[in-house]
Amino acid sequence: MTNDTSLVRRALRHRLLWPVVTLLLLLALNAAFNPTFLHLEWRDGHLYGSLIDILNRAAPLVLVALGMTLVIATRGIDISVGAVVAIAAALAASMIGGSLVVKDGAAADVSRFPMWLAIAAALGVALACGLWNGLLVARIGMQPIIATLILMVAGRGIAQLITEGQIITIYYAPYFFIGGGYLLGLPFALFIAAAVFAALYLAVTHSALGLFIQSVGINPAAARLAGVKARRLTVGVYMLCAGCAGLAGLIISSNVKSADGNNAGLLLELDAILAVTLGGTSLGGGRFSLVGSVIGALIIQTLTYAIYSLGVPPEINLVVKAVVVFVVMLLQSAEFRAELRQRLFRPAPGGAVR
């Protein structure tokens, strides 16, 4: 075996290979059916194009998926992120105010509280939600799915309580910058997602944090015995995840200029888990990849874009997603791969025979 082939082999074995290949295939599919897909254009000081659009729309999902990755890496799961998105959006919207103030014949930018206070409050509430989840998991020792189920059920009620059951429309223009503004020609939401990714990536790769998270995911008891402050770490990870969800809530509410307690972030937890799974993070905890989750989120958004742009009825979207999840799941299952190998190379000696 020469060096060449071993390099190829290593590339083939790299666990981000399949996510990247999937993403490239989807992009190629889009480009094949839509000639202007890869076209980028500079117009009015902004960069326009389908790729930018996909990145922009994927930003909230990327954020939530990043937080979810770390939670899943500690062998947990957070299904309350959708509800946290709704709560953060509701609080920010209600603090900024839902009334159109007209001064001198033009809409005036009036906010009930300063915008920074509204944003801080929304993020603070999101962190509090994460603290609640984390304490239930780490202190009380509930199963993560159940602990976060509580907030998932109650959270939408709380969001509606804040908005008093209404959909709050926001008229305060400066707030729109978060989800709809441009910085250096690129959407601002992209910078938020990129900043969070960079911070997490550096923290995980350049400090022992990544190692600690992984060790808690692989064996919580052993990690604790080895001196890792497992409980504190778990609480921190859930707070981080909820904080990311809060940011996503701000972006979403600013982008659609309203907050809807019932529908903001609906099913976002499922998309986020899907993104994390697609990115190669093991749901059993331990093995995780932040880059993979970002790619996973982009895959989901590109898939959605492809479905719309290919003229496939959007209602098929869910079916396609389901099929993708089934295929990815099966490919991740050792039992399925063993069976497949057996089917393909039947006389293989020493094959996994059960």
Binding site: I150, V153, A154, E164, L318, V319, A322, V325, M329
Partner: protein
């Protein structure tokens, strides 16, 4: 509980996972959440009766069952899944798919409901069984498999139609309007009777058959169940098939209740079903619980809604917050019980 001697407590430790129908001290300990649920139910009913005129009538209580018949049926299926240590997130969307397929075949294809209903029940069972095979054979996480099942079923609804299909079929509307007199002027619907029958069958299946005992054993410890030579594989698949069947049956009841098929029907119902099971005293880690408890869990969710409706000043979203709070209390209780047992 506090009166229980330390010696008695040890009795419960040995045979974790297998709950025989009735046996002294262990029953008390394991059924504590159920006892709390029943007491809380009685308490809320009493408070409601004192606070609101017209609350204390047989019909109000029968309405709890009538309005939640589909939830009750689904929750019984969910109880088995949770007892076996799994979870089924697809139930709500299977309900929606059932209503959709029924409405489509009956209204637009002109099939007779008596043909369609067995067909959808079969479809639901098959749907559940396939998920069960994926979970058992390929060792995939139930959470993810049923999540994908949820996407798939909802997606298939929209493939049939994006809009709601209303049902004008005489046979179906006749059934949905039948009122069975109970006592005094109070009546039950066909759906409520079906729900009660399902609960009774569920109790029988869980406590008096080999299948039920295996479900408890698998939920207690799958490895030991396997080593004991129990048919683990078939049982796990059977549990998800059962849940699929119950969801489809719940879907038929839901269709009778709403008289329409719609892809957005029963959104988030899986959460209500899980909540009902937990509030009914079934341990989410599997192996411990009662099917009867689930009936009370469903009634509990119903009475919260009824109380809020009777009050009139509280908005509907308080229901969700109340259910969340209740879930929290019961999870906490389960957790504390387990710590003391371990």
């Amino acid at each position: 509980m506090s009166a229980m001697a330390p010696g008695q407590q040890k009795v419960g430790v040995g045979a974790a996972g297998i709950a025989p129908p009735f046996s002294g001290a262990r029953l008390q300990r394991r059924s504590l959440p159920l006892q709390v649920t029943i007491s809380l139910f009685v308490l809320m009913a009493a408070l409601g009766s004192l606070a609101y005129p017209g609350f204390f009538s047989l019909q109000v209580f029968l309405n709890l069952l009538i309005d939640n018949a589909f939830l009750c049926v689904v929750a019984v299926g969910m109880t088995f899944v949770i007892l076996s240590g799994g979870i089924d997130l697809s139930v709500g969307s299977v309900i929606a798919l059932t209503t959709m397929v029924c409405a489509w075949l009956v209204e637009q294809r002109g099939w007779h409901p008596l043909v369609v209903i067995p067909l959808v029940l079969l479809l639901g069972t098959g749907f559940g069984a396939v998920m069960g095979v994926l979970i058992e054979r390929y060792r995939l996480q139930p959470f993810i498999v049923t999540l994908a099942g949820m996407f798939l079923a909802r997606g298939l609804c929209y493939v049939i139609s994006i809009d709601s299909i209303s049902i004008g079929n005489e046979f179906i509307s006749d059934i949905s309007f039948i009122r069975i007199p109970v006592w005094g002027g109070a009546t039950l619907t066909v759906s409520a009777v079906v729900a009660l029958v399902v609960v009774a069958l569920g109790v029988y299946l869980a406590h008096y058959t080999a299948f039920g005992r295996t479900v408890y054993a698998v939920g207690g410890n799958e490895q030991s169940a396997l080593l004991m030579g129990l048919p683990v594989r078939g049982t796990v698949i059977g549990v998800y098939a059962l849940s699929g069947f119950c969801s489809a049956l719940g879907g038929v009841l839901f269709m009778l209740y709403m008289l329409s098929g719609y892809g957005l029907h029963a959104m988030g119902l899986e959460l209500d079903a899980i909540a009902a099971v937990v509030i009914g005293g079934t341990l989410l880690t599997g192996g411990v619980g009662y099917v009867v408890g689930t009936l009370f869990g469903v009634m509990m969710l119903g009475i919260i809604q009824t109380l809020i409706a009777f009050d009139g000043t509280l908005s509907s979203w308080w229901t969700r917050i109340a259910v969340g709070a209740l879930l929290f209390v019961f999870c906490l209780m389960q957790r504390l019980l387990r710590t003391r047992e371990g």
